[in-house]
Symmetry: D2
Subunit: 233 residues, 4 copies
Amino acid sequence: MSNIDSNLRACYINCTLKKSPNPSHTEGLMRLSLDILDRLSIYNEYFRLVDYNIPAGVYPDMTEHGYQTDGFSKIKRSILDADILVIGSPIWLGEKSSECVKLIERLYGLSGMTNAQGQYLYYGKVGGCIITGNEDGAKHVAMSTLYALQHIGYTIPPQADAAWLGEVGPGPSYLDEESEAQDNDFTNRNITFMTYNLLHMAGLLKSNNGIPNIGNNAKSWNNGERWAFRKMK
Amino acid sequence: MSNIDSNLRACYINCTLKKSPNPSHTEGLMRLSLDILDRLSIYNEYFRLVDYNIPAGVYPDMTEHGYQTDGFSKIKRSILDADILVIGSPIWLGEKSSECVKLIERLYGLSGMTNAQGQYLYYGKVGGCIITGNEDGAKHVAMSTLYALQHIGYTIPPQADAAWLGEVGPGPSYLDEESEAQDNDFTNRNITFMTYNLLHMAGLLKSNNGIPNIGNNAKSWNNGERWAFRKMK
Amino acid sequence: MSNIDSNLRACYINCTLKKSPNPSHTEGLMRLSLDILDRLSIYNEYFRLVDYNIPAGVYPDMTEHGYQTDGFSKIKRSILDADILVIGSPIWLGEKSSECVKLIERLYGLSGMTNAQGQYLYYGKVGGCIITGNEDGAKHVAMSTLYALQHIGYTIPPQADAAWLGEVGPGPSYLDEESEAQDNDFTNRNITFMTYNLLHMAGLLKSNNGIPNIGNNAKSWNNGERWAFRKMK
Amino acid sequence: MSNIDSNLRACYINCTLKKSPNPSHTEGLMRLSLDILDRLSIYNEYFRLVDYNIPAGVYPDMTEHGYQTDGFSKIKRSILDADILVIGSPIWLGEKSSECVKLIERLYGLSGMTNAQGQYLYYGKVGGCIITGNEDGAKHVAMSTLYALQHIGYTIPPQADAAWLGEVGPGPSYLDEESEAQDNDFTNRNITFMTYNLLHMAGLLKSNNGIPNIGNNAKSWNNGERWAFRKMK
C-alpha cells in the first residue's frame, strides 16, 4: 500500500433523513469505505447531517440571514480541512434526500471563496458518493451529486460512486439481513474501487500542490488575463 | 505555459443532429476550446458524429450484430489514442441529443476492455463537455454526460463543462449574431477554465502513468484480491 | 369562462429558501398564476414552506419520530382539500431547492393513504409547477417535480410547468427590474396555459368523480383482483 | 369493464437498441400491457423503432433535410391516429436509449402543428412509458420521457409508468427465466394500473372532446387574447 499518502484526510457526510440513534442503511454502506480508510490509517471524520441543526440556504453563515443558530460550522471546518469528501444519500422517489440537497446548497454557499492561489476553494480536493435505496435511483442521485461537486471545484476520479439497490418494488434495505446486501459482490467491489480511486487522486493532487494555477483563476480572468483564449472573430 | 504537456492528444466529438455542411452552433462553441489547444500546440481531432454512419448499439463492432457498416471504427481509434475526450451536444427538450446518447452507448460498448495494467480502458484519461441550447438544460446535459464518462473510467477535473444558453423561450442560437453569445464573459471563462483543467489533469495523470494500479483492478478483484476491503460482519 | 368550475380549490406552495419577509422571485412568478385564479374566483391558498417549521422525513407526522413540532399539518390540510397543487421552486446548481425535495418527501409520506374508493389519496387531483432561476435548470426541476406528483397519484395536464430563466451566467433574477422578466412573452404564455390546463383537468376529473375505480385499486389488487391482467405464460 | 371506451386506439413504440428478430426484454414487458388492451378489445399498434430507418432530427420530414428516406412516416400516422401513446425503453448507463431520445426528438419535430381547435397537436391524447433494465434507472428514464410527453401536449394520468429492474449489478434481464421477473407483483400491478389509467384518462378526454379550448391556444395568444392573465404591474 506504499502508494497511498497517509497524510490525507477524509470527510464523510451521511444525508439520511433519520436522526441518531436510528440505524441508517446509508451509514451501513459508508462504513465499508470508512473501514478501508481505517485499515490504511487515513484520518477520517463522519457526520450525520440531520443530527446538526442546519438551516437551508446558500450563504456561508445563516445566522446572518435570520436563523438563531447554524450547525454547519463544525462540518464546514471538516470539509475544508479534508482532501476527500464523500457524500452519502438514501433515495426517496428516485431522488437524493432533501438533506443531501441542503448540504450541496451549503457547499455552494462557500464556493465564492478562493484558496491561497486565488482558485475556487475546493480546487485540489476530490469527491465521491455512496447511495442506498431499496429499488432504483442510484445513478440518478450520483450524477447529480458528483456534478455539483465538480462544478464547485472538486475533481471526480473514475468510478467515484458506489451503491446498493434491491430488485424493483418494496423490499428489504441494505442493513436488513434478508437483503443479503453485504454479500453483493458488485457493491463491495465498487465501494473498494471508489475508495482507492479517491485516495489515489487526492494523493496525486496533494503531491502536485493541487491543480496548476494557469487558465483557471477567476481573479486573473477578472483582471483581464485570458491565457491562450481568444474570442470568436 | 510551461506546465502544459505538449504531447497530450485530444479528441472532440460534436453530437449535433445536423449533418455537414450545415452550420452547428455546438461546433461554434467547441471551436473556442479547440483554438486554445491549437495555440498551445496540443494535437487534436474533431468529429461530427452524425456525418459517420454509426448504428446504435452497445457492442464494439456492430457489423457483428446485423449492420452492414459501422462508421465508429475511425472515431474509436481517435478516442483510444487521446488523453482528453470532449463531448459536445445541443439540447432538445432539455436533454442531450440522441447522437450524444448513441455515442455514450458506443463508449460503454468498449468499457469491458482493459488497459495494459488490467484496469478499465479509459483509466488515465480525462473528460469534459460543451453544451449549447437556446434557453435551458446545460447543467442537466452535463451531469448526465460527465457521469457516464467517470462511470466508464474517465477522470473529471473541476469545472469540466461549459455552455451557452439564451433567455428562456425561443430566441437566437449561439452563432446567430443577434445572440451576442460570443461576448458572453461567463461562457468564455468557462470554456477557458474547462480547457486548461482538462490539460492540467491529463498531464498530471500522464506523468504519473495513470491511476495507480491498486484497489481498482477488476481482474485482481475477480481473482480474489480485496486489498484493505473487508465484508461487513 | 363558463367552462371553469368555480368550486375548485387550489393550493400553491413556494419552496424558496428565503424566509418571509424577504422577497421571493419564485413568489413573483407564482403570483401571476394566483392572480388568474383570483380573477376567475377560484379559491386558493398560498404557503411559503420555509416559514413553517417542517422536519425532513417520510412519515405523516414527524412528532412521532423524534421531533417536538411538525409544521406540516396545516399545509397538509390545504393540500388534501385542494383539487390543484402547484409547487414553486427556485433553482440552485441546476436542481430544485432542498425545501422542494422536503415537500415531496412529506407528500410521499402520505401516499400510503387511500381515498374513499380505496385508490391512492391523490387520485383525482391535478398538479403543476412553477420554476425560477437566473440561468438554467427549469425543465430539469420540472421533470423531477411533475414525475413525483404523477407517481403518487396526481394527473399532469399538458404544459403543466412554467418558468423564467435569464441568459447563462450570473445576472438579474425574476423580480429584478433590469431582467425585464415580466415582459417575457413565453413565460407569460406558459403561466397562462398551465393555469388553465390545471383548471380544465381538475374540473373534468371532479365532474367525473375522479378516476374510475377499475384497474387501479391497490386494495383490490392485494385481494387478488386482476381485472384484464394476466401473467406472462 | 363497461367504463372503458372500446373505440380508443393505442400506439406502443419499443425503443430497444436490438433489431428484430432479436428478443427484446422491453417488448416482453410491453406485451403485458398490450395483452390487457387485447382482452378489452382496444385497437393497438406496436412498433420496434430500430427496425425502421429513421434519421435523427427535429423536422417532420427528414427527406427535406438531406436524408434519402425517412421511415418515420408510418409510425407518425399511428401516433397521430392514437389516443394513447406508450413509449418503451431499455436503460443503458442509467439513461433511456438513444432510440428513445430520437423518438422524442421526432415527436417534438411535429409539435408546432395544431389540432382543429388551434391547440397543440397532441392535446387530448394521453401518454405513458414502460422501462426495463437489469439494475437501475427506471424512474430517471420515466421522468424524462413523461416530461417530454406532457411538454408537447399529452396528459399524464397517475402512475403512468411501469418497470422491471433486478438487484444492483450485472444479472439476468426481464425475459431471462432466472430473473423470475414475470412473478414480480409490483411490476405486474404497475403495468395494470398504468394501462387502466391511460384508458380511463383517454376515454375521459375523448368524451369531453379533448381539453377545453380556453386559455391554452397559441394562435389566440399570438392574436392578443389573454383570457384572465394580466402582466405584473
